[in-house]
């Protein structure tokens, strides 16, 4: 059931295929932001390029739709300058794990308080069906007629191994489950990665809604997300059974906390007197 939210954009034409997994993610995100009490002006959604990266345009929020693969550095800097804003980076698997893979690694190290949402459909949609970093071995496309020769990237194992703040997996076909995970991720202080399994109804005939529904299950009470080794082991499970939920949780000081005192030290250089003070202090260093 679709619920009206503060975050609904009314005057946009959505460019996704009918039945796309992106719709479920969009609705879940709007409802989650609403339920958490955010106002649209307090939220910035940064994206890259690809079908998933169009999502921010379909939300009533501040938007920075940047370059392919580059949403994370933009999101990091927005949060560093405006820590009071909720900052989300949202894009697809090709954008976040392929073109922007390096930025993901280093954002984990920096631990900014941002949430990274990856619409993971295991295929390049917008360029019409090539293998993505998460496509299975043997996946056939016009660019890989012999079948994908590379193994798929496991984003969860990667993030858990590097001690990321929060690492979760969700499924676009279960709105309530997805909302629960989004809430945990958005409430978490630190870097949160949510890999969202998203069926591509046009180019991925393998990983369909039905395929996922047969396999997904939620991590239970017996899983301890504070245990990195257990989280890593769980992240390796894929095939007949695919776990969903928060795999790993590692609270630690965020980047913004580490530079928190700096904002207060900024000088008002637009005032002539203050400018002169700084000028004289600095010039004296070169005498």
């Amino acid at each position: 059931m679709t619920v009206a939210t503060l975050f609904d954009a009314h005057d946009v034409e959505i460019a996704w295929c009918p039945g796309c997994g992106n719709f479920g993610i969009l609705q879940a995100l709007k409802e989650t932001l609403d339920e958490l009490g955010y106002r649209p002006q307090d939220v910035v959604v940064v994206s890259g390029i690809g079908q998933a990266a169009k999502a921010p345009h379909y939300l009533r929020v501040n938007v920075f739709n940047g370059l392919h693969g580059r949403s994370i550095p933009v999101a990091f800097a927005i949060k560093a300058i405006r820590p009071e804003l909720l900052v989300i980076a949202e894009s697809g698997d090709g954008c976040m794990y392929g073109e922007g893979g390096n930025h993901l690694l280093h954002a984990i190290r920096r631990n900014p308080d941002i949430t990274v949402l990856v619409h993971n459909n295991q295929v390049y949609g917008l360029t019409k069906g090539q293998a993505s970093p998460t496509s299975g071995e043997g996946f056939r496309s016009k660019a890989q007629p012999w079948g994908n020769l590379s193994r798929p990237l496991n984003p969860l194992s990667l993030a858990i191994s590097q001690g990321a703040g929060l690492v979760a997996r969700a499924f676009a076909g279960d709105k309530e489950g997805l909302k629960g995970i989004l809430k945990e991720a958005l409430n978490f202080r630190g870097f949160a990665l949510v890999d969202i399994l998203q069926p591509c109804v046009t180019f991925n005939p393998v990983n369909t809604y039905a395929w996922y529904r047969e396999r997904v299950y939620y991590l239970g009470e017996d899983h301890n997300p504070e245990d990195q080794i257990a989280a890593f082991q769980k992240s390796l499970e894929w095939g007949d059974r695919i776990p969903l939920g928060v795999f790993y949780r590692n609270p630690q000081p965020t980047y913004e906390m580490k530079v928190e005192g700096r904002a207060k030290k900024r000088r008002n250089l637009f005032e002539e007197e203050e400018f002169q003070r700084v000028l004289q202090e600095e010039f004296a260093q070169f005498l």
Partner: protein, 564 residues
């Protein structure tokens, strides 16, 4: 008039830069004008590195090749540079078997041996400093003060040992009799009322950013731009800046753009290779009309090229960098003093027109220390002009007559939407091709108003010829003009710091200068080509240096004399 050139050479890691920095500082504090050029290799230990240091009673703005004093911290320095020492000069330090030039005095000194006797090899730098000061005829008072300032934290014993090292160096020179007619003898300013300011290009670029109100600097370390990162990092905690070492230059420029979107004054810096990686980001800044400042400290290329040497080979590149067309500013400050002001101007103009502003530096400007009677800062940072008439929806990219649309930061009442795709007035992506045309025209319209901000080149008139240059060559062009003037030639200088968009009326302006000779540190004469394109005037006489070394006065005098 005193005008002494000395070279300190050695292997990387031996302390060449320390010796020359200490000497520069002490001499500037004694009221001398100092000009120092760094030459180093892309390595941490070994190899060969030197500093060329010019000390004079009048203001100097370029380096000379003929040496009065050569300080050899290793024997390789002697082999490589002994031929550069002119008659009446001195070579001290580790000398070799070959004879020096005629009337050049040799003073073999074992700086390291003396240092080891004092207890540690590290004191060798102060032994050498003491020896050079004695040859120049400068007392140790300022040097002692420097030692006390610098080593106080390391305790009184280290201070005492360093002072001893200075004295030991001086004693060795005195014992040789070489200090009896010191190079600066009788000319020093004992009252020290007129200490000179001493500042490098990288320090000035960093300081300019600080004064411009830069609150966010992201960069990946790359020679010769790294000094800017180091400078801003050294001020980050005191002034509340965010200074972030990015994982690559792509991240660096995207971070700067994100910070600017969020409300910061943001800058990134790199060298040519890193700038290549930033090109897509440059287009993002242009498309989202997000103001940023990018510094490209040029070095010879293509590719990795010569990492630690100088060049002006990126002019035509940065002018066109990133695909399709968009307006941008390009500046190339002529010296550290101007660099300070240029950075503030670049921030202000980027802000006012919501475009990227590029500053071209190079290894020569970055690492060279200049001295001045005073430093001045005429520019002031302007407040961001945020505007919204309250009409809903807020149109970030409203089509306006001058192309400049109302800018807001996120977090206020209006939602701010920016898109790297072609977009509508609200910022949402569009494939309405009529709108695309209108948006491209809106962005490009800014170029004509931007052009009005640009300043005509610096001019000194001359009857026989006119040297035309840009960026860091200004100082050496002044020196060449002076040197040729002493030979009875009247040489003019026309020097560009504002490179794009070129100022209005340039064709008529340039027509009046006789016999133009364009001097550049690249292969083809890129400024000459640009001027030909923009003014349709011919600039066939070009002096181009592209071996990675800066122009020195004597060589350039000869090259100019040849084309006259």
């Amino acid at each position: 008039m005193v005008d002494v050139t000395l070279k300190v050479g050695g292997a990387a890691g031996q302390g060449v830069q320390t010796v020359s920095e200490v000497l520069s500082l002490i001499l500037a504090r004694h009221g001398y004008y100092v000009f120092s050029i760094e030459d180093y290799q892309s390595r941490i230990r070994g190899g060969h590195t030197f500093t060329l240091l010019r000390v004079a009673e009048q203001w100097v703005s370029g380096g000379k090749g003929a040496l009065d004093i050569l300080v050899c911290l290793d024997e390789a320095t002697y082999h490589l540079h002994r031929g550069e020492v002119k008659a009446g000069g001195v070579i001290l330090g580790k000398t070799g078997n070959e004879a020096p030039g005629e009337d050049v005095r040799l003073l073999p000194l074992d700086f390291e041996g003396v240092a080891l006797r004092l207890g540690n090899r590290v004191f060798a730098n102060m032994v050498a400093t003491g020896a050079v000061l004695a040859i120049l005829g400068i007392g140790l008072e300022e040097a002692r003060e420097y030692v006390r300032e610098t080593f106080a934290r390391k305790g009184p014993e280290i201070v005492a040992k360093n002072e001893e090292a200075l004295e030991e160096g001086t004693r060795l020179v005195e014992a040789s009799g070489l200090s009896s007619s010191p190079f600066l003898g009788g000319h020093q300013n004992p009252s020290r009322v007129s200490r000179r300011y001493l500042i490098s290009g990288n320090e000035a670029l960093g300081l300019g950013a600080l004064l411009a109100g830069c609150t966010f600097y992201s960069a990946y370390p790359m020679t010769p731009s790294t000094g800017i990162l180091n400078f801003l990092a050294s001020r980050a905690e005191a002034y509340g800046l965010i200074v972030e070492q990015a994982e690559d230059e792509i991240a660096a420029i995207n971070m700067a753009i994100g910070a600017s979107y969020a409300g910061a004054r943001a800058m990134t810096g790199t060298s040519g290779g890193g700038f290549c990686l930033m090109c897509e980001g440059l287009g993002l800044a242009a498309m989202t009309e997000t103001p940023i400042v990018v510094i490209d400290a040029q070095r010879p290329g293509p590719s990795t090229g010569l990492p630690t040497r100088t060049a002006q080979g990126d002019l035509l590149f940065v002018l066109h960098a990133s695909h399709d067309e968009f307006p941008r500013f390009v500046f190339a400050p002529r010296d550290p003093q101007e660099a300070l002001n240029t950075v503030i101007r670049a921030f202000n103009l980027a802000e006012k027109y919501q475009v990227p502003a590029i500053i071209l530096s190079d290894q020569y400007l970055a690492d060279t220390r200049w001295s001045y009677d005073r430093l001045s800062c005429e520019e002031r940072p302007i407040r961001p002009s945020l505007s919204w008439d309250g009409a809903s929806p807020y149109r970030r990219y409203a089509l306006t007559p001058d192309g400049i649309s109302p800018r807001l930061f996120p977090g206020g009442e209006a939602l701010v939407v920016a898109d790297s795709d072609e977009h509508d007035e609200r910022g949402h992506l569009t494939e309405d091709l009529a709108l695309r045309k209108a948006m491209q025209e809106k962005r490009m319209r800014k170029l004509e108003v931007m052009r009005k901000e640009m300043r005509l080149p610096f001019v000194l008139e001359g009857k026989d010829a006119t040297l035309i240059g840009w960026g860091s060559t200004w100082g050496v062009l002044l020196e060449v003009r002076k040197a040729l003037g002493q030979k009875g030639k009247s040489i003019g200088v026309v020097h560009f710091s504002d490179l794009y968009p070129l100022p209005e009326g340039l064709r008529d302006f340039l027509k009046r200068f006789p016999n133009p000779v364009v001097v550049e540190q690249n292969f083809s004469g890129q400024l000459a080509t640009l001027l030909e394109q923009e003014t349709l005037l011919p600039f066939p006489k070009r002096i181009c240096r592209y071996d990675g070394l800066p122009f020195l006065v004597e060589e350039l005098v000869e090259q100019v004399a040849e084309v006259l």
